[in-house]
């Protein structure tokens, strides 16, 4: 099923790989039993850059994030971190190498307090008896949240008591606070009101200004992509079909790509139904060419 690399669909723009890439992903493929999640994905991330990852549900965005963060392992393909081969053995390993993730399913622990969540796996403990130094964690957590402008009135309440926006902000703050230089955000704005979403986008913008971290962010809302990201990659059917700086494209262009893709797929379906014969799995290469309006 997996296409050989030479039938790789055309990428809309020339690759913009550069020597200041902090992360490069080359020809990653991943299957789950009969389901092909990623066919052949390559992307790169520059220092201080915010890369938006777009694509429909099931296109493979989350799988890609999980591979980069060390939660899953790719079937084939390679990754490079700061030019060195990068093969994370676990989430802990990836984190130790500076890549941290805020998951779509929010790795927050409902029953734990805000500051315990922020310091999960990096707890401050006392010496010599390793009891939790809650006071120190509270202080640092407050400092960190204030530092990136997140307003949480009480940090000793269980996060279950907080709103979705507050929870997401804490998850992001936790990652930022963990001295990672690459942060992966899996749908940070999911299940969030406009105002709360704006809080998170402000947070991302501040991080971009600081320039210390690079961010890959999965988003659904195209408007938000253009607001927050330097560059956008689109994944369709397990492949990257578009790679362009946000300054060189527009919401309309991306919308068209998606709509075209949808129409083409439907036509193909109809055509196949009409032929009702043996179907060849090798359809025409997807017409990824954008139609600027």
């Amino acid at each position: 099923m997996a296409d050989p690399p030479n039938t790789q669909p055309q990428v809309a723009t020339a690759p913009t790989e550069a020597s200041d890439d902090v992360l490069r992903v080359e020809h990653i493929a991943k299957r789950f039993g009969p389901v092909t999640a990623l066919r052949d994905v390559s992307l790169h991330l520059k220092k201080g850059e915010v890369l938006g990852l777009l694509g429909d549900n099931g296109a493979g965005k989350s799988t890609l994030i999980k591979i980069i963060s060390g939660f899953q392992k790719q079937d084939s393909g390679r990754m490079f971190l700061h030019g060195q081969p990068y093969e994370p053995k676990s989430v802990d390993d990836a984190r130790a190498k500076g890549i941290d993730t805020v998951y779509q399913d929010l790795a927050l622990i409902d029953e734990l307090s805000v500051y315990h969540n922020m310091f999960l796996r990096r707890e401050r403990v006392m010496r010599p008896v390793p009891l939790l130094n809650n006071r120190e964690m509270k202080r640092e957590a407050r400092q960190a949240l204030d530092g990136i402008g997140i307003n949480i009135p009480r940090i000793d309440v269980a996060v279950a008591r907080l709103s979705g926006g507050q929870r997401q902000a804490i998850a992001v703050a936790r990652t930022v606070n963990s001295d990672s230089d690459i942060i992966l955000l899996d749908e940070p704005l999911a299940a969030m009101g406009v105002k709360e979403g704006a809080q998170i986008l402000d947070l991302v913008a501040r991080l971009k200004e600081e320039g210390r971290v690079s961010i890959i962010m999965i988003l659904h809302n195209y408007v938000q992509v253009f607001e927050a990201c330097d560059r956008v990659n689109m994944i369709q059917d397990g492949r990257i079909t578009l790679d362009r700086p946000t300054s060189e494209t527009s919401v309309e262009e991306i919308t068209n790509i998606v709509v075209d893709e949808y129409r083409r797929a439907r036509e193909e379906e109809h055509a196949e139904a009409a032929r009702s014969g043996a179907s060849t799995s090798d359809g025409p290469p997807p017409d990824g060419a954008p139609q600027p309006s």
Binding site: A107, D110, E111, L162
Partner: protein, 377 residues
């Protein structure tokens, strides 16, 4: 999963006894004190237990006496230790039914190590407990690594080791090593009606070993208080406790955060099984007999789990308290002992116990709602 509104999401109980009190203590009075007690997770069961104790004290003249305090101890102290271990598994959202088998098997193994292998008493205890720890590790392995449902996995281990206990013991009760009484005669002087009277008396002695390991009057109580104290600190103030709550609350999230879920789960199962074995040895020493009796062990198992749940630990995981388990065990102990003292017959005892637990748990839930400041829901 996350509420969109800015209001605090409902139903998220605070963690541990230091959870925020909904009421500010502006004027310290009995009301404020009561509110503070209720604001604890263990608050409702404390209230229910105190009410139960007051009831028996008012209705049974012999209840509130020093002698009865000693009689009451074995009604709850062993269960408090068992429940403390079980709480660590229940917070994970799992259950350990094999504690019944450990309770049964550890003293038999202790007996064999002492009599057949010839180990001294304390090393024999240690070997028996190591065996329990190993069984706990296997439990944890099946649940955390293989992924067998914990109810089924530990039920299988319960049967396996109860069976093994019967096989090893050949189903025959034996005298617990180091627990037998020996009697000496000494002259003791008493003052009776103003006269000093010296008479030879038979004095029963139990060994220091037996005094420490369950035979002494306060032995089990002291063990229970120490173990509960330590484990409550572990649960509330260490990474181990933090990870335990994290796994029970959001296993995937904990794993994504880098918590070594399997390791923590196995560790908790080891703790639970080891404590169960320890209690088994205590009870064997206290009764001076090692009984290969699965039915009795299974009853103990249910009471221990009940003590944990009544104390405020959720069977669904993510929330729990060791001190609550102690109080839950105390509640069950007071209830049973009080009813026996009142002269309730066996057939009615179960009936009343069941009713009392339902009433207590209803009160528990109601008080819990008051604690969270919710009128209903």
């Amino acid at each position: 999963m996350a509420s969109v509104a800015h209001e605090p999401a409902a139903g998220g109980p605070g963690r541990g006894p230091q959870s925020p009190a909904d009421a500010g203590g502006h004027r310290p009075g009995w009301k404020a004190v009561l509110q503070r007690v209720i604001s604890l997770r263990e608050g409702s069961i404390i209230v229910v237990t105190v009410v139960t104790a007051i009831y028996f004290a008012a209705n049974t003249s012999s209840f509130f006496t020093g002698t009865n305090f000693k009689t009451l101890l074995p009604y709850f102290a062993p269960f408090a230790i068992l429940a403390a271990g079980e709480v660590f598994v229940m917070i994970l959202g799992e259950i350990d039914l094999s504690i019944g088998a450990m309770y049964l098997f550890a003293p038999i193994l202790f007996f064999k190590m002492n009599t057949s292998v010839g180990l001294p008493l304390v090393p024999a205890v240690i070997v028996a407990l190591l065996m329990c720890a190993a069984v706990g590790a296997v439990n944890g392995f099946f649940v955390a690594v293989i992924g067998i449902n914990s109810f089924v996995a530990t039920l299988a281990m319960l049967f396996t080791f109860e069976g093994l206990a019967l096989i090893v013991s050949k189903g025959t009760p034996v005298a617990t090593p180091g627990a037998s009484l020996h009697t000496t005669t000494q002259n003791v002087t008493h003052i009776v009606n103003g006269h000093a009277v010296t008479l030879p008396e038979q004095v029963n002695h139990i060994s220091t070993f037996a005094k420490i390991f369950g035979g002494g009057t306060y032995s089990e109580l002291i063990w229970a208080l120490v173990i509960v104290g330590i484990l409550q600190v572990v649960l509330t103030f260490t990474r181990w406790g933090l990870y335990t709550v994290a796994i029970g609350s959001n296993k995937l999230g904990a794993a994504e955060a880098g918590v070594r879920v399997k390791l923590v789960m196995i560790r908790n199962y080891v703790l639970c099984a080891t404590l169960a074995g320890l209690v088994g040895i205590f009870e064997a020493v206290r009764a001076a007999t090692v009984q290969p009796d699965p039915a009795g062990a299974n009853e103990i198992l249910f009471l221990a789990v009940a003590a944990g749940v009544i104390g405020g630990t959720l069977l669904t995981g993510g929330s729990g308290t060791v001190v609550g388990a102690l109080i839950g065990a105390l509640f069950l102990g007071i209830l049973k002992e009080g009813l026996v003292l009142q002269g309730v017959n066996a057939n009615y005892l179960l009936f009343y116990t069941g009713l009392a637990i339902i009433v207590a748990m209803t009160a528990n839930v109601y008080v819990g709602r008051v604690r969270r400041g919710q009128g209903s829901g």
